[in-house]
């Protein structure tokens, strides 16, 4: 976009150069805090000239005089308010509050850092009427019907496990109560499902992907063994008739074959137990093709339900 403008401008030639330098400085400040030295360097590089440092003071004064508030912290200047303003209504402000609290509850470090930056930019961009709305009314955050129940330190712990890519030994309350099972896992990702933090990991002993609700993990210990990343191949299943036409692929799925009344789907990295539960909803319109072990798991799943009423 800028290139096109340059072409246009070069034909007309007449440019307010001092104005252009100030605009370049404003552009630099809009990217983030800058020291006067950094600002001077940007201008000198653009113009291939040497400027005195007083030029920056002069331009900063100009910004202030026109009403663009510039502050200084730790030797760097930054814009107090965004030049591009937006009006937000009560419901949007309530959503902003919700996002702030929700992120805080999630307690994922990279999310908190980014959301804090985003909210800071949005606050700097509030229009005058939005600022008045905030000062005049009591904005309440949007309330979720289902509350989040988290152990903050636990989430951080598993986030670190995933980052460090070392295998973990884990004891899991399989029924959410007393019954426990031991797993050797390669931790992959912490996610939230229905407001619950969940660890997604590769089960080294059973060669499957599994999800673990953090609050049901009884114990977990990191081992010195590196993640092998030697994961199993995909699960394939066939969907028939109407379902084949209406099925919406998940992010981890692709169609590998299709016919008039069927599609064959390849699924990667889904907890196989949860996958069986999900596919069971499609009754006899769905058939797991591969691996054989998962076909057997589906048969066991069906038999266990049958036995309840047999």
């Amino acid at each position: 976009m800028t290139q096109n403008n340059n072409k246009t401008c070069s034909k007309e030639k007449k440019i307010a150069n001092s104005g252009l330098r100030l605009l370049e400085m404003l552009k630099a400040l809009s990217k983030g805090p800058m020291s006067s030295y950094e600002l001077l360097e940007i201008l000198e590089e653009k113009d291939q000239k040497i400027y005195r440092k007083e030029l920056i003071t002069k331009y900063l004064n100009t910004l202030k005089v026109i009403g663009l508030q510039v502050s200084k912290t730790k030797g760097k200047y930054f814009l107090e308010r965004n030049i591009e303003k937006t009006s937000f209504n009560k419901s949007e402000l309530s959503l902003i509050k919700f996002i702030e609290k929700y992120t805080k509850n999630l307690n994922l470090e990279y999310l908190s850092e980014n959301i804090s930056i985003i909210l800071n930019i949005l606050e700097k961009s509030f229009s005058q009427d939005t600022l008045e709305l905030i000062s005049q009314s009591n904005i309440r955050e949007y309330r979720l019907k289902k509350n989040l129940s988290l152990k903050n330190q636990e989430v951080k712990k598993y986030e670190n496990y995933c980052r460090e890519s070392l295998k973990i030994d884990l004891i899991y309350k399989t029924d959410g109560n007393e019954k426990t099972e031991y797993y050797k896992l390669e931790p992959l990702q912490v996610m939230y499902k229905n407001g619950q933090p969940v660890l997604i990991a590769y089960d080294c002993q059973n060669s499957t992907y599994k999800e673990f609700v953090l609050k049901f993990i009884k114990e977990a210990h990191q081992t010195p063994q590196k993640n092998a990343r030697n994961y199993v191949g995909p699960v394939t299943f066939k969907l028939k008739n109407r379902l084949a036409k209406s099925y919406v692929l998940k992010q981890n799925e692709k169609i590998i074959n299709s016919g008039k009344n069927f599609i064959i789907v390849s699924n990667q990295k889904e907890d196989t137990q949860l996958l069986i539960r999900r596919l069971s909803r499609y009754f006899d319109q769905c058939e797991i093709l591969y691996p054989q072990e998962l076909r057997q798991n589906m048969l066991d799943y069906i038999s266990e339900i049958e036995n309840l009423y047999g």
Partner: protein, 325 residues
């Protein structure tokens, strides 16, 4: 704006760049709204800082400087009512790629709650702040990367309106099997499941309470010929009351559907809760029961149990031979 001229140590006649001030002045005026050359001159002539420093080329030179700095400003013409229109500028604080990924992560985690109203509000909010993203690929993530992108909001509004007043409608439904067809449908409520939006209600064609995928609904029209409501009366009688118990993780992660109530919680027993369901769509309810696996025990509803057993038999049958490719 001029109040700032009186701030301490900021004498507008000393140590400021008047050319720079003029560039900012015009930028801020164009940010407010498109302005003609005459309007800009008028504004400048009223400004105490630059009113006396105006040559005949001032506006052109300043507009050129703005363009060179990266602004896209359309030329004044008859089409623009002889006004300069600022279409883009590079001076706004902006959201980074990492910021967008964080927002998207939050949206993805909220999708799992199934709160479709929240998701619609969030999508609208993200669309509003997308202008703060300079990278067009990431801007598109905020604008379009959500499960409701193919849904017409007017359709949702109409469905909710008719559900609120319990009115009958004709919906044009794009069925994957039969193509577009008009269905007599009385919407009752909307749910979100597996990243898709469904409207539930009475469907005359199937004479049962059923659901339609909202993204397949192309039109909703109000009708009033079913005023006597005979079909609805009959349909009300077809509800089946079922009770079931849950154990294991299914009990822990349980979320009630709109037609369900938790009758009893028994945390110290093997089965942690008893749920009552008013089943108006057997197919959907059996799907739900199957997804709980052996964590769920049906206590009543023989009709449902029989159908469940038949479904299980049919499922077992397809696994009794080698896989069909």
């Amino acid at each position: 704006m001029n109040q700032t001229c009186h701030q301490k140590n900021l004498n507008p006649d000393n140590n400021i760049s008047k050319t720079g001030y003029r560039a900012l002045f015009i930028l801020l005026k164009l940010l407010e709204s498109p302005k003609s050359r005459t309007e800009l001159l008028e504004y400048i002539s009223c400004d105490p800082v630059i009113k006396n420093d105006l040559s005949k080329d001032s506006i052109t030179n300043t507009i050129n400087a703005l363009k060179k700095a990266g602004c896209i400003i359309s030329r004044p013409s008859q089409r623009t009512n002889n006004k300069y229109i600022l279409k883009y500028h590079p001076f706004s604080l902006s959201l980074s790629k990492e910021n967008v990924i964080a927002l998207q992560t939050i949206r993805e985690s909220l999708v799992t709650f199934g709160d479709w109203r929240l998701l619609i509000n969030l999508n609208n909010f993200y669309a509003k702040i997308a202008k703060y993203v300079q990278d067009s690929t990431y801007q598109k993530i905020l604008l379009y990367n959500h499960p409701l992108r193919d849904i017409n909001h007017q359709i949702i509004k109409r469905l909710m309106f008719h559900a609120g007043i319990k009115k009958h409608t004709i919906v044009t439904y794009d069925s994957p099997e039969r193509g577009k067809e008009d269905l007599y449908f009385t919407p009752e409520y909307i749910t979100m499941e597996n990243r898709k939006l469904y409207v539930w209600g009475y469907c005359k064609k199937y004479n049962e309470f059923s659901y339609l995928r909202v993204d397949r609904i192309k039109n909703v029209n109000f009708i009033n010929f079913l005023a006597e409501n005979d079909e609805d009366d009959e349909f009300q009688k077809s509800n089946i009351i079922v009770e079931y118990k849950l154990k294991g993780l299914s009990a822990v992660m349980f979320q009630t559907e709109i037609y369900e109530t938790v009758l009893e919680k028994t945390p110290d027993e093997e089965y942690k809760m008893t749920v009552k369901a008013v089943v108006n769509n057997k197919f959907n309810f059996i799907q739900r029961i199957l997804s709980f696996g052996s964590d769920c025990l049906l206590l009543s509803g023989d009709e449902i149990k029989n159908e469940l057993e038949q479904k299980l038999k049919a499922m077992k049958e397809i696994y009794s031979h080698d896989p069909e490719q």
